[in-house]
């Protein structure tokens, strides 16, 4: 669970103020807002990459700022939009790196780690990718294995920054359906940002909306709001 209490986020200067927000396990949240409003900054703040300007964030009951990095890495993870260029790394080795927060100082992995990677590979049905190098994958496959790595990391909270940005219609659906499935089966608290209002409305349980003029943030159940209402709230200049 993610508990946000009157938080200001931004790079040194406050970009966005989030009064109070409580995000629960087993739910898929869609984050919608204009470009540059601070969605990525928000997600990076949640994962501890960018420090909080002010306020308090509780990740599964623990304050973000007092948690040690290694402990935080077991509770929350972020999938960035772009996939890094990595030479000579197989998909299997890439997935195993999701165990880094749990391994010893030399990074030795054991059979349980291998078994976990296996189960995630089976869950996402990516056995055919396992032996490939990450540099050989398509955009859709890269997004898929990035999600797989986060599942291997076994965090209760999973954040995704525009996971469908570079994907075609079919892959968008595939990725979001997988997210939905994992969220329910593993009881995750999953938050993804997206500019694709239509698909987000159909897949997400709840929406977190950002108004660019008032900087107001609203959390609503997906079935309690229409596409038109979302557009008029998030893109009032239209």
């Amino acid at each position: 669970m993610l508990q946000i209490n009157s938080v200001e986020i931004g790079h040194t200067k406050a970009l966005l103020h989030i009064p109070s927000l409580q995000l629960e396990q087993g739910k898929l949240y869609g984050l919608i807002g204009r470009n540059g409003i601070g969605k990525s900054t928000f997600l990076q703040t949640l994962v501890g990459v960018i420090p909080l300007v002010s306020g308090e964030i509780l990740v599964q009951g623990n304050s973000l700022e007092t948690l040690r990095k290694k402990e935080l890495a077991k509770k929350i993870a972020l999938v960035r939009t772009s996939f890094p260029i990595i030479e000579n790394l197989t998909v299997y080795a890439y997935l195993l790196l999701g165990r880094v927060p749990y391994t010893n100082v030399f990074g030795t992995t054991n059979e349980q780690d291998a078994a976990l990677v296996r189960s995630v590979i089976d869950l996402l049905q990516i056995t055919h990718l396992e032996a490939k190098f990450t540099s050989q994958l398509s955009d859709g496959e890269k997004q898929l294995i990035a999600i797989a790595q986060v599942l291997v990391q076994q965090t209760g909270v999973v954040l995704l920054d525009e996971p469908t940005a570079f994907l075609d219609y079919e892959n968008k659906w595939k990725i979001l359906k997988i997210l939905k499935k994992c969220t329910v089966e593993n009881q995750l608290c999953t938050i993804f940002s997206s500019h694709d209002i239509g698909i987000t409305l159909e897949v997400a349980d709840n929406l977190v909306l950002v108004n660019p003029l008032t900087k107001e943030i609203k959390e609503v159940k997906t079935d309690a709001i229409t596409k038109e209402e979302i557009i008029s709230f998030c893109f009032p200049n239209l």
Partner: protein, 335 residues
């Protein structure tokens, strides 16, 4: 399957290294028997010229060839992973120049702090450390790999210019000593210095053990590594320290040796096709030692005809490799 290849390659490299070390140590006018070699280390007979030659010339030269090749290659690999740049290396990014600058100060100016022979090592390591710090700071401000490379090259040129200024003001003997040092050479180490060199080298290897997991994670990018709980700040200091010890130590004793640190890790990556640093580091160390040993064997072979500085041989080998990497990366980027 993959593990099998790695093991086989490692065994082959070690065997080859052993054979070439014996070839290297036997090069010269007198051939040394095993008994003489053993005794020269543990029960030296000062009236036996063969033992003296082995102890004071042959053994130090072979040892430093192995250590320098291994150390520079490891330093290059560390920098390549850390800066996420296949063209990084101690000589090309100016770290060796930083070492040289402080050695130049030590040899040619009257700094009493740098007067003893240990003073030269500490000066070289200190120079390498300072210049690694410079690079680290610059790397914060430039995003592209090419910019960092250009900054490194400029840093090197700038430093070499300062060294020339110091040279022009120093006396003839000091200048001569420094010039010879600058050619790069494996014959300036004496038997008595070997234990200290080995110890420093082992110390850096010990630090390296704690870098393997972070480096393996760093291939995902610094931000993701931090997200996975790697303490980025500590890694930075450890990497700089390791690079400084390897580069500084070797530069102090052998002069700035070009290209080994850049070329060897890239060749290893192409052969092994892995980003597991257990394999990359051990293979780079072994292959680097092999390459420098071969370079020096060539040098010794050619000595009858022509006396070449070590740097000319390593550059002849290394420069084409760099051009090859550039072309390969360009193809990679346009694909």
């Amino acid at each position: 399957m993959k593990g099998g290849i790695v093991v086989r390659n490692t065994v082959a490299l070690i065997l080859l290294l052993l054979i070439l070390s014996i070839v290297h140590v036997q090069m010269g006018e007198v051939s040394v028997s095993f008994t003489d070699a053993w005794n020269s280390i543990f029960a030296l007979d000062t009236t036996n010229p063969t033992q003296i030659v082995f102890r004071e010339l042959r053994l130090p030269r072979t040892s430093i060839a192995l250590l320098a090749g291994a150390g520079l290659s490891i330093a290059g690999l560390l920098m390549q992973t850390f800066f996420n740049n296949p063209l990084a290396g101690p000589s090309i990014l100016g770290i060796s120049a930083g070492s040289s600058l402080f050695v130049a100060l030590a040899i040619m100016t009257g700094f009493t702090l740098f007067s003893s022979s240990f003073g030269i090592i500490s000066a070289a390591i200190f120079g390498a450390f300072i210049y690694s710090l410079f690079l680290l700071i610059f790397s914060r401000f430039v995003r592209s790999n090419v910019s960092l490379l250009i900054i490194g090259i400029m840093l090197g040129s700038f430093t070499n210019a300062i060294i020339q200024v110091i040279e022009s003001m120093s006396d003839v003997n000091a200048l001569k000593a420094f010039t010879i040092w600058g050619f790069g050479s494996l014959q300036q180490v004496s038997f008595d210095q070997l234990p200290a060199i080995f110890l420093c080298f082992l110390g850096a290897l010990g630090l390296l053990l704690f870098l393997i997991k972070p480096l393996n994670t760093y291939v995902l990018g610094e931000e993701r590594a931090a997200q996975l709980g790697i303490s980025v700040g500590r890694v930075k200091i450890l990497v700089i320290l390791c690079v400084a010890i390897f580069t500084g130590l070797i530069t102090a004793y052998c002069g700035p040796i070009a290209f080994i640190g850049l070329a060897v890790p890239n060749m290893v990556k192409m052969r092994y096709k892995t980003s597991n640093h257990w394999h990359l580091i051990s293979a780079s160390a072994l292959f680097g030692a092999l390459v420098l040993l071969v370079c020096d064997i060539l040098l010794l072979q050619l000595e009858a005809v022509i006396t070449l500085p070590l740097n000319s041989i390593t550059s002849l080998f290394g420069a084409p490799v760099v051009i090859w990497i550039l072309i390969k990366n360009r193809l990679h980027a346009t694909n």
